[in-house]
């Protein structure tokens, strides 16, 4: 008979694992633990992206990153100018009137 580890009828004949990590030692699954493939950015680049005044000299050696983030910035800037389509506001008000 196949053993089903989720079947309680077979639970009492199944030996427990010899060793098991204590529950408190197991990592919790949160966003912080999600493995992300990332590449560290220089702190000067982060400061620049945060809108801080950063002298050009601080970004020497990070030209590739700055170039990429200027392109990303062009796209995020476009998105930051997006407006709610006019019909959405009208639809909300119409639905409220129907209530």
């Amino acid at each position: 008979m196949m053993h089903d580890p989720l079947d309680s009828r077979t639970a009492d004949v199944t030996p427990a694992p010899a060793t098991r990590a204590r529950p408190e030692a197991e990592p919790q699954t949160t966003d912080r633990e999600v493995p992300l493939d990332a590449r560290e950015l220089p702190s000067a680049v982060h400061a620049w992206l945060d809108g801080d005044q950063v002298p050009s000299a601080a970004l020497i050696g990070a030209e590739r990153e700055v170039s990429l983030w200027k392109r990303i910035g062009a796209e995020t800037g476009r998105r930051s100018r997006m407006a709610t389509p006019v019909h959405v506001r009208a639809q909300i008000l119409a639905k409220l009137a129907d209530d």
Binding site: D37, L41, D50, S56, A83
Partner: protein, 211 residues
């Protein structure tokens, strides 16, 4: 314009070149106290029976909320639906507002986005063509813009929700860390960490193609 003059002045006085390193984004200030009072006055009118006054709040806050929903879901249609449901919910619970209306309604929209993200099976997500006017002048620039839009969308979709949320609030909605802290009930330090992690993940995802 003022920022540019200020940078030039800084460069002149300190002998350093600030002019070539324009900060990527400028942050929007939090609503002033008089706007918060004005919101409360509108809420009082709505609660007194003037339903149409609710349109003032929709007009005042729909754009940043739409941008948030669009940034989080990657879909104009979904963002519209979330906005509609959220404002209708806000209308029906308007009597429960304590404090800032904009922060309260933001949480409704943000929760709507998170619920949608939980429910959707994100095997494929494509951003639809939008009807925003293009500011690019040549076909090459237009093509490049389209590629970056798609690639950024795909990269954002890979991020955990909390990192995407922080990145969108910082770089699309242009909020300060302090404002984000109020809206998300988190510390400035934690939010900086999330934005930094999001940037570093995006850097890794996009650098091969664009660097």
């Amino acid at each position: 314009m003022w920022v540019g003059r200020r940078k030039q002045a800084l460069s002149a006085t300190r002998g350093m070149d600030y002019t070539s390193v324009v900060p990527l984004n400028q942050t929007e200030p939090a609503p002033p106290d008089d706007l918060i009072d004005a919101d409360q006055a509108v809420i009082d009118r709505v609660l007194a029976g003037d339903r149409n006054a609710f349109g003032i709040l929709i007009e005042r806050y729909s754009d940043p909320l739409y941008r948030h929903a669009h940034g989080m879901t990657g879909s104009a249609d979904v963002a519209e639906d979330i906005l509609q449901v959220s404002f209708i919910k806000a209308f029906h619970h308007l009597g429960e507002v304590r404090g800032r209306f904009d922060a309260w309604v933001f949480r409704i929209v943000a929760n709507g986005c998170k619920d949608w993200l939980k429910n959707i099976r994100r095997t494929h997500l494509s951003y639809e063509e939008d009807d925003q006017p293009s500011s690019f002048e040549t076909p090459e620039e237009e093509l490049d813009r389209g590629e970056m839009r798609r690639d950024l969308d795909a990269a954002l979709a890979v991020l955990p929700d909390s990192l995407r949320e922080a990145f969108v609030m910082k770089h699309v909605e242009g909020r300060s860390y302090e404002e984000m802290a109020v809206l998300l009930d988190a510390t400035v330090g934690a939010l900086k960490m999330r934005v930094h992690r999001a940037r570093e993940a995006l850097q890794k995802l996009l650098e091969e193609r664009y660097s």
